[in-house]
Amino acid sequence: MAADRPQAILLPVRAGTIAVSFGCALLLNFLPWPNLALAPDFVALTLAFWCVRQPRVVGLATAWGLGLLVDAGNGVLLGQHALAYSVLAFFAIALSRRILWFETWSQMLHVLLLLEGAQLVALAVRMAAGAEFPGWSLLVGPLAATLLWPVVAWLLLMPQRRPLDIDVNRPI
């Protein structure tokens, strides 16, 4: 949404798009990754995207529910991802008006901070619960997810780009 660039007018988002995107993110998260510390957290990335784009639709309640689902699916402490995603959603919503004014690279810097923050919240929770420190490779996952941000942004905005009925005579 940089001021000097032409911007396409987007259609209003449909709830189905958001639901399907979260379903796909969960699916990608549950793929049997060989090294989990290096795998990007797709749910966190999708959540950050929708919190930035649609802060009125996707909020902390969604984040918390998704976090619980991820917790149960991963078999980790119940509430670990719920807490991390809630914090992520809060800061993403707080930054939502700011992030969209930047170029893609600057957006990715913001997103990197958000995702690393969420990972550190999860780390703090597990260390407090008595787990051992799994090594700093833990911070690679959010980095990989950040690199996917432009792709995810392009993919998730696609349904809003094309009009419902294409009318050649319409001015926009």
Partner: protein, 304 residues
Amino acid sequence: MEHTPPPFFLRGPAPLVRLAFFASLSLTLLVLDARFGYAESIRSVLALAAYPIQQLARLPVALAEGVAGYFGSQAQLRAENAELRARLLASAQGAQRFESAAAEASHLRRLIGAAERIERKSMPAEILYSGRDPYSRRVILDRGTQHGVHAGSPVVDEVGVIGQLTRAHAFVSEVTLLTDKDLAIPVQVLRNGLRAIAFGGGTSGMLELRYMAANADIESGDQLVTSGLDGTYPPGLPVASVVRVERDATYSFARVVAQPSAGIERGRYALVLSGATRLPPYPETAQDKNAKLRRAKRKNADGS
């Protein structure tokens, strides 16, 4: 007249209030789960909800494996077949000897009146994938409570113990591996019967024998087997072999590091053993006895 804002200005509670609400909800759940273990019922419901997504996510990998297996070359299969035949022959000999030894042992046990060991049922299971938690060492098996496995059962492979089944869901179950920091297993040195407890070494992939006296008779190369004292693991299963013993005069304990025998991070198939050994109840402690006596006395006093 009271003025309320029109509905399009209503945005619910402030963001910070929402964050506080959800954060406290998460922390409550965390404490309930980590400290008291009350959250298991919620977890099983949520796990059931996540199960179809997990199965769907496994589908492409399973398909790729199936295709690769179908096109496995004939030479490879023949070599594998020959190797399996040789192993069968070797183990058949061992099994015959074991059978006669077991019969003899049970006869001797009857003679001395010891409790007969219960035959454990075993259930083969496939390891679906390793646990999705970088903070712990777990694997997921394709057997759940619907197939009759229970939390607490030991899990072994063809060589030795790989871990303990710590959480049974409806269709899958979680096995905590021996190398997990939170798992301990009572072991015995095969050479001299010295008892010890092996703890998981975490990311190192090793086991650690803690609280071994600095002059304990243990050396590198010693085989460790389960002692069976806890009633969870059957006695005599191979667990690990000692690779390093460090004796430092400044510490009263020796540092003993052991390498697990079983293919903890490699295997595809595992065996879930069920049924605990029968143990006599714990003897009463002196405190309990005193309390009972006092209660009996009070009863007598009330009665008279």
